[in-house]
Symmetry: C2
Amino acid sequence: MAAKDQVKALLFDVFGTVVDWRQSVIRELSAFGNARGLSVDWARFADEWRGLYQPAMEEVRAGRRAWTILDDLHRESLITLLERHGVKGLAAHEVEHLNRIWHRLDPWPDSVEGLIRLKRRYIIGTLSNGNTGLLVRMAKRALLPWDVILGAEAARAYKPMPECYQRNAALLNLEPQEVMLVAAHNDDLAAAQSVGYRTAFVLRPVEYGPGQTKDVAATRDWDVITDSFTGVADAMGCPRR
Amino acid sequence: MAAKDQVKALLFDVFGTVVDWRQSVIRELSAFGNARGLSVDWARFADEWRGLYQPAMEEVRAGRRAWTILDDLHRESLITLLERHGVKGLAAHEVEHLNRIWHRLDPWPDSVEGLIRLKRRYIIGTLSNGNTGLLVRMAKRALLPWDVILGAEAARAYKPMPECYQRNAALLNLEPQEVMLVAAHNDDLAAAQSVGYRTAFVLRPVEYGPGQTKDVAATRDWDVITDSFTGVADAMGCPRR
């Protein structure tokens, strides 16, 4: 029996794997800036916003800070960056509107079709550092047909802490080897594999923009290696119909 | 503005409100018993199983017992009842199959249609004492189109503890008054209302069988009072199409 034959649920990294966060954030920030006549390098702003993501979570992971959801970490980073880029005088509801860009990210072109096929045979869900409310709103807007919203908030532990993978498998009454993580990030897959998860790498070669240097190939012999969610569906025996 | 105009999410009690637990449990127990030539009053067995539900949860609510998911409470009650009814010698996998009857409950005839209509306009989710894995499997089998699986396990507190309602609203980034609980049980609605939730009562007059005496009418002036999920959809402004 192949390792993947035991799989009962596929859980997905979301930012970068399911949705194209970078182009979505740049698009919304640019629209906001154009409407207000602001002159800001929004691509750089988006990259800096994402750049503050790991250090913000690390405060929580390291125990220097009490549990804090990603919406709140994102908002703090946003306020820092608005000041750095000289954007002043926004109303609270405007800051909140910008922070919720992360609730309105667009999927990659193959995401929805692949998920629909996989859902027929497996439990499909998120396993994201995004908070539950963010992931629910994103799913409704982007028509992502999740069976369950899981991740850091359900586990009260950010990836790549082992507790995040372990607790989310337990929430499904599953052993780690019955769960496959689908991700575009080798480090996420390595952490999941170390607690017993099965693994699927999906190449997203422009997640970080045209000059991407990280995660441009699988760095290990993951159980599935492909470049689309329809490729995951093919590999997991979920036919087109 | 009517109280219900603020609502962003509808969360649903599940056992009795969304699904007909009693007939589903009796049907599966009877099929199991007939296949093995067992002579047991399965309707009484089902009612006794449900009768052990509140006392089992109360041990956890009262803090006399550490957090325990409903599947585990159900299994303990099942083993007690198998012994009481003289059913002996079942294999572990047979006990587990019976315990998972609660993952395979059938919806009331109006449930799926009402949920599909409500989902177009609102976040819809569970707010059940059932554990996450149970609710996910029930939803896939019964085609319940939830946006999110919430409830006691997400909050680590059983209803009607106020923390259960409060923590689940917070998981959606919502204030309690932005959430409506839909339930066939007046006591569940009263607990939800006391923390600020909006409320919808759905009459399920045979949940407990033909001689039902409890919850045969709304006992307060809930925000919505109806006898079906399509009635909830009508009341909440979700048209047929």
